[in-house]
């Protein structure tokens, strides 16, 4: 349950970037979550919605994008997107799509990244 500290870290980074870009409002926050990160997207969104109150990101649209898991198979050397097997797990297991081995090296899919934000700011021409 570290969604709260993650949400706080995300919001701090968003507000920092918004300020650097002279924003007076943040309208969208797009976050990418690897399918293997131990974060629950719904909880994260909930926390963010609480934390953005009374900031310039209040009412921002929070978009969560899933990021596929990239693997290299130790068994057959396949490199690419891994198959997600969630048949007997809420947590997905990763296997090689070519040989179905679980002996894979996860290259990508554990990270949480703020992809981009949309902001509103005063148009310089109007000033």
């Amino acid at each position: 349950m570290h969604e709260f500290s993650m949400a706080q870290g995300i919001l701090n980074a968003v507000l920092e970037t918004a300020e650097e870009n002279d924003a007076n409002k943040v309208t969208d926050i797009v976050i990418q979550i690897g399918k293997l990160a131990m974060l629950n997207p719904e909880q994260l969104t909930f926390m963010l919605n609480v934390l953005i109150e009374d900031t310039i990101a209040e009412n921002a649209n929070i978009v969560i994008e899933d990021i596929d898991v990239e693997i290299k198979c130790y068994n057959c050397d396949y490199e690419g997107i891994g198959d997600v097997d969630d048949s007997d797990h809420y947590l997905p297991m990763i296997l090689c799509p070519k040989c179905e081995s679980h002996r894979v090296n996860v290259l990508n899919g554990k990270d949480v990244t703020i992809k981009n934000i949309s902001i509103e700011k005063e148009d310089e021409d109007d000033e």
Binding site: N116, I119, E124
Partner: protein, 218 residues
């Protein structure tokens, strides 16, 4: 008039922790210290395992003992006359590289051969937070239920050694040790799995050799 702009951030929230973890490991390497991170549920036997290893080997060991708010684990380990730094996470469910780096300030790295880091009792959250250790040991006990390994794939996928503890109680709680071993290998086919009953001293020597072996193969 409002201008709407998209600002590309591409800010990886995990990266800050990973960077700090790399820094921690560089520090260990500089002082020729081999760092082992112990994770497992509350009551799996992490602290006891650390105490047993300290009492058995000749090498100089330092310990960072993570706990939510107490210093009970740190106190237990301190009684074995090794340098101990307690790390309190406050509310957090895991140690992170930043907390570890703080603990290192009070740890005499040049006087020790091994640094043991005991994580907060949790099989879920520590997965996301590298600490900079060279080896991660996951300790699980049969009393947690023999489906515990099956239910927590990621922590076992990242494990360098799995210890299945309290096997003397398996029959009493109706747990299948074989199932737990098989599940660990399903998640992590090449990982070494040791079954132990630390209270009876069973498996301890094997665990110590496995740490030694992992260190030598690095």
């Amino acid at each position: 008039m409002h201008k709407i702009a998209d600002v590309v951030m591409a800010r990886n929230i995990m990266k800050a922790n990973n960077k700090l973890a790399d820094k921690n490991q560089a520090k260990f390497d500089e002082s020729d210290v081999f760092c082992v991170d112990f994770v497992g549920a509350i009551g799996s036997g992490k602290t006891y395992l650390i105490e047993k290893i300290i009492d058995t080997v000749d090498e100089k060991i330092g310990v960072l003992a993570g706990d939510i708010i107490s210093d009970l684990d740190a106190g237990r380990i301190e009684s074995h006359n090794v340098p101990v730094v307690g790390l309190n996470t406050g509310r957090e469910c895991h140690l992170d590289a930043h907390l570890v780096s703080h603990g290192l300030k009070d740890m005499p790295l040049d006087d020790i051969d091994y640094l043991f880091v005991e994580n907060v009792g949790n099989l879920i959250c520590p997965v996301d937070f590298a600490l900079g250790s060279h080896m991660r040991i996951v300790v699980v006990s049969v009393t947690e239920g023999d489906d515990t390994v099956e239910k927590h794939p990621y922590i076992f996928q990242d494990a360098d050694l799995v210890v299945i503890n309290k096997i003397d109680l398996a029959e009493a709680v109706g747990a299948s040790v074989d199932k737990m071993v098989a599940d660990a290998h399903k998640h992590n086919p090449d990982v070494k799995v040791i079954t132990s009953s630390l209270k009876q001293g069973k498996g301890l020597e094997e665990i110590i050799s496995a740490i030694e072996e992992f260190k030598n193969n690095m």
